[in-house]
């Protein structure tokens, strides 16, 4: 404990005492379990009724659904948990005192980020028994699960650092929360729309539009060109690339990668790890900017 960040230690102690924490863990898991069980029922219960046989490969779809729901919960929870970290200190009038201590602005920010990530890790670990439903039939390995956990942690760092950046720049938590969610929307949806938009606009110049529309996504890939690399920063695409690696090409999640025929084979093969590394680099950049802003003498 001696070498842990003091802000992180204090935050952990406070979080553990809040009634909000167990309520959050409970609701999170109930929500996830309901979706998991429902997808089980739809896939196996209904399937059994109509065809009188089980498709064991459907477990991969269930895995995709459960992990997808968990990922969406992460997208929604991380900004909510981190956007108030610095602005909250400012509102509570505890920030000035903290800034006059021996702690550097970067240490303060790091402590805050670590505490948010810890809660997210706690949520992810607590949900493992629900994801383990998929192990009951097989097809998913422990390595896949570890990869998914790693992905969740990096997503928490990525979105958390963006939220902390806004928390440092905005004076009020409400403004910081709005900005964080907006930034997330830009990263997740607008980046995707931008890339697809660029592809479609390029196709409009082509003569045989009907041909291209029938293979829209595939054709887009060629037209988009280097714009596709913007999606390396999109966590949803990283999630799909993880699913592509785990449950294979040809599933619905893999369709987005039809657009990839404009990119280098290396990037296509290692999209998941490249995107995670890039997202970590962007996180560091946001943390650095936040600490610059937090420094009172800047």
């Amino acid at each position: 404990m001696k070498f842990l960040n003091p802000v992180y230690k204090r935050e952990l102690k406070q979080t553990a005492r809040m009634y909000r924490t167990p309520v959050l863990i409970f609701c999170y898991n109930v929500f996830l379990a309901l979706f998991g069980l429902f997808s089980f029922y739809i896939t196996f219960g209904k399937g059994n009724e109509y065809y009188n046989k089980l498709h064991y490969e459907d477990i991969l779809t269930i895995y995709g659904i459960i992990t997808g729901i968990e990922f969406i919960l992460f997208l929604l929870l991380v900004p909510a948990l981190t956007a108030g970290s610095i602005s909250g200190e400012r509102e509570k009038q505890t920030l000035d005192i903290l800034l006059t201590t021996r702690l550097t602005p970067f240490q303060i920010i790091l402590g805050k980020l670590l505490s948010s990530i810890s809660i997210m890790i706690l949520l992810a670990v607590s949900s493992l028994p629900i994801i383990a439903l998929c192990f009951s039939i097989g097809g998913i390995t422990l390595l896949d699960l570890a990869k998914f956990l790693l992905f969740l942690i990096i997503t928490a760092i990525y979105l958390g650092s963006i939220s902390i950046f806004f928390s440092t720049y905005c004076k009020r938590t409400t403004a910081a929360t709005v900005c964080s969610y907006f930034a997330m929307l830009v990263l997740v949806f607008l980046s995707l729309l931008l890339v697809i938009g660029v592809g479609i606009l390029s196709l409009l110049n082509e003569e045989d539009i009907s041909y291209h529309l029938s293979f829209l996504l595939t054709s887009c890939g060629k037209a988009i060109g280097n714009f596709i690399y913007i999606l390396l920063l999109n966590p949803i695409i990283s999630f799909f690339s993880m699913l592509k690696d785990q449950i294979g090409y040809g599933t619905q999640e893999g369709y987005l990668f039809l657009m990839s025929n404009g990119m280098s084979p290396f990037c296509y093969e290692h999209w998941f790890f490249i995107s995670l590394i890039l997202q970590l680099i962007v996180s560091l950049l946001f943390l650095w900017l936040a600490s610059k802003k937090l420094s009172p003498l800047n």
Binding site: K13, Q14, Q93, T94, L99, R102, P296
Partner: protein, 329 residues
């Protein structure tokens, strides 16, 4: 110990500090007094390293403190006028958190925490949650927190504001004790009398300018020289008035039923010469004395009421933002 020279600070068009200079010597309990919005908090935040001045210099033990934030963090203990505490933390845990920041762990942290809580009289409350403490107790806890790294200079922004008389007395005792232990203390207030009975030296600030600085005795002496002289006569009022009207150092002469009040800008020697002249002119003087006046009267005379009197720096910024918005519409 601390030397501020020509500090300038403005929030957009509003000048908070205007060529502000001040010096605090080692071991002084320096009272920094001025009306609300005079620039006290801005000055203190600059000293603590929370705000950068637009220009000017700040030296701490002869070293340029503006270029060395670490020096400030090491030598200065800052207690803001308004501060919050963390929810769900006990008094002992609050201290533990800050002790951790300064590298105190385990037994060493416990010992230091006990020592500081004893000093501020909060040992019995260490298992209480911080947000359940009274304002006075929170102030004392914050003072204990300020002392963790044993700073040479304590910068306390209105530490007794909002406190009851008992808590005020207690905090004054603690400050006297700390000063006796060799700490230099810079303490602000907008009530001069409150500081006069505690501090060895006083600086008066108004509209971002230090208008007076010195020991309490020096300030009282300056105040006295500016007070009117009361002259009581049993006979010869006319003669006395004639002498006073002709005297170059006497002014604002008012006479009423054998009593004359007048301003006199001379020193003790000139006062004695004037008294001799009055007696020589035929006035029978039964009493000749300067009005003692009060520090509060001096403070009110020295500090002008400005439009921004009741504004703190944050409010000043809001006002600036409002003015900008108003002018753009």
């Amino acid at each position: 110990m601390l030397e501020l020279k020509n500090l300038m600070k403005s929030y957009r068009k509003i000048l908070a500090l205007d060529h502000f200079s001040m010096s605090v010597e080692q071991g002084q309990l320096f009272g920094f007094v001025g009306p609300n919005g005079a620039g006290k908090t801005t000055t203190m935040k600059i000293i603590a390293g929370l705000i950068s001045p637009d220009s000017g210099s700040m030296k701490l033990n002869g070293e340029d403190a503006l270029k060395s934030p670490n020096l400030r963090k090491q030598k200065i203990g800052y207690m803001p006028d308004f501060f919050g505490v963390y929810d769900n933390l006990k008094v002992s845990e609050y201290m533990e958190f800050y002790l951790d920041i300064y590298g105190y762990y385990g037994k060493a942290a416990e010992k230091k925490s006990q020592e500081l809580l004893d000093l501020v009289g909060l040992s019995a409350k260490k298992e209480m949650f911080v947000d359940h403490l009274s304002r006075g107790m929170k102030q004392r806890l914050c003072l204990a927190r300020t002392l963790i790294h044993d700073p040479e200079l304590l910068v306390l922004d209105e530490p007794a504001s909002g406190m009851g008389p008992r808590s005020r007395k207690e905090i004054k005792e603690i400050l006297r004790q700390l000063c006796g232990e060799g700490k230099t203390i810079l303490i602000s207030s907008h009530i001069l009398n409150e500081l006069a009975e505690l501090c060895t030296n006083i600086g008066i600030i108004d509209s971002g300018i230090l208008i007076m600085q010195g020991s309490i005795e020096e300030i009282k002496q300056q105040q006295k020289a500016a007070n009117p002289i009361q002259l009581q006569l049993t006979q010869g009022t006319e003669e006395a008035l004639k002498v006073l009207k002709e005297h170059p150092l006497a002014s604002n002469i008012a006479s009423k039923a054998g009593s004359i009040n007048f301003s006199f800008s001379g020193e003790k020697e000139e006062e004695a010469q004037l008294l001799t002249a009055l007696i020589y002119a035929g006035a029978k003087v039964s009493s000749f004395k300067r009005d003692e006046g009060s520090l509060e009267a001096l403070f009110l005379r020295l500090t002008k009421n400005s439009e921004l009197e009741d504004l703190e720096p944050e409010e000043l910024e809001s006002k600036v933002a409002y003015e900008v918005l108003k002018s753009s519409l």
